[in-house]
Point group: C2
Chain length 214, copies 2
């Protein structure tokens, strides 16, 4: 385990592909032993050289004629992607999307636990799916009492910047923004936008670009 154990800069393209590698490898029956870069590449539609270069950045060496040890790769990917470290998150905005995320139990696979939800509407402060929804006024106090790693924003566009500021003030340094707002935050805070609008645009354009299917 060399210099890349932690803290290396990884190019955005690499960060996009690594979860795909992990996902693919996890779907392989365990005990299969080794896999070649070409096999991974053709399964995911990448080039074999690209797969090797990506894996070289995060894992130990592969063996000629054999490929890479699958279990090693999975462990290296999970570690690199941060899935093995526990991260606590809070949601602000208990609308439909917020509640869906709050109730989704698949995040634990990535080391993420959503520990609380907040909403400006005091009336919905009740158990709905799996936990309490606190009034937004309690947010900063809650953050002082618990160590919160990630803030998830699922409020409407008009409220998003206010919520973002509040999160920053409470020491949250990673924000996952599901609102359509463009958030401004200090450089020390990472903001990740879940870009539904872009996805819809890509799909919509694809429909118009090839009018004749088949």
């Amino acid at each position: 385990m060399g210099k890349n154990a932690c803290g290396n800069e990884l190019a955005p393209g690499v960060m996009r592909r690594l979860p795909c590698y992990l996902n693919y490898l996890k779907g392989i029956p365990s005990g299969s032993g080794y896999i070649s870069s070409a096999t991974v590449a053709s399964a995911l539609g990448y080039g074999d050289v690209q797969v090797r270069k990506d894996l070289a950045q995060i894992s130990g060496r592969g063996k000629p004629k054999m490929g890479y040890e699958i279990d090693n790769l999975i462990a290296a990917l999970e570690s690199t992607l941060g899935y093995t470290s526990y991260k606590s998150a809070v949601i602000v905005g208990a609308g439909k999307l917020g509640m869906a995320l709050y109730g989704y139990d698949g995040f634990s696979e990535y080391g993420l636990e959503i520990v609380a939800a907040f909403d400006a509407d005091e009336k919905i402060t009740r158990d709905i799916i799996r936990g309490t929804i606190y009034p937004a006024s309690y947010f900063s106090e809650y953050c002082r009492k618990h160590r919160i790693d990630i803030g998830i924003i699922t409020v409407p566009r008009s409220e998003a910047q206010k919520v973002c500021d509040e999160m920053v003030k409470c020491g949250i340094r990673a924000i996952w923004n599901f609102s359509p707002a463009i958030l401004s935050a200090p450089d020390s805070v990472t903001v990740r936008n879940e870009n539904m609008a872009e996805s819809i645009a890509v799909l919509s354009r694809s429909l118009e670009e090839m009018p004749a299917g088949k």
Copy 2:
């Protein structure tokens, strides 16, 4: 309106930024008239040249000393992104995420209407939020009766490929995949993966990379 009225290839980076431009411009009080590329650039953290190059691909010319006419830009962006054309969608998988998307009324802003939801579990075939959830067995018949543009997959990983195949068979040519599965589909079908795992990884790594937040 020249050659780029429709059907031009747009680079992924451009496709990522265009919704941001639109979003930003819509937040400007209407009747403001013109805006310069430098103003847009500094608001969104891009370079002014990049903004001009992006806009040159989708809109008419700007005026020296004035900038671009805001209303024109908004119209061009909405048209290019496909938000002005009606697109019908169906959801397969009536779990929490599926129901959240089904109940979300913000998609109409992008020209997207979710017209039906399906689930393998026949028991949940009832009105929940705003519409009927049909049993999955009715899916292909429904698609024959209605023109469906986009298929949204919110089933677990193990079911996703099966659902994808069914959608392709029913003539759906654009698929929005919220499951963690890697889907294989013909080239004529556009698959867009909503990459939650990547987002979590980016945020998680950012937490580990700067241990001293300030």
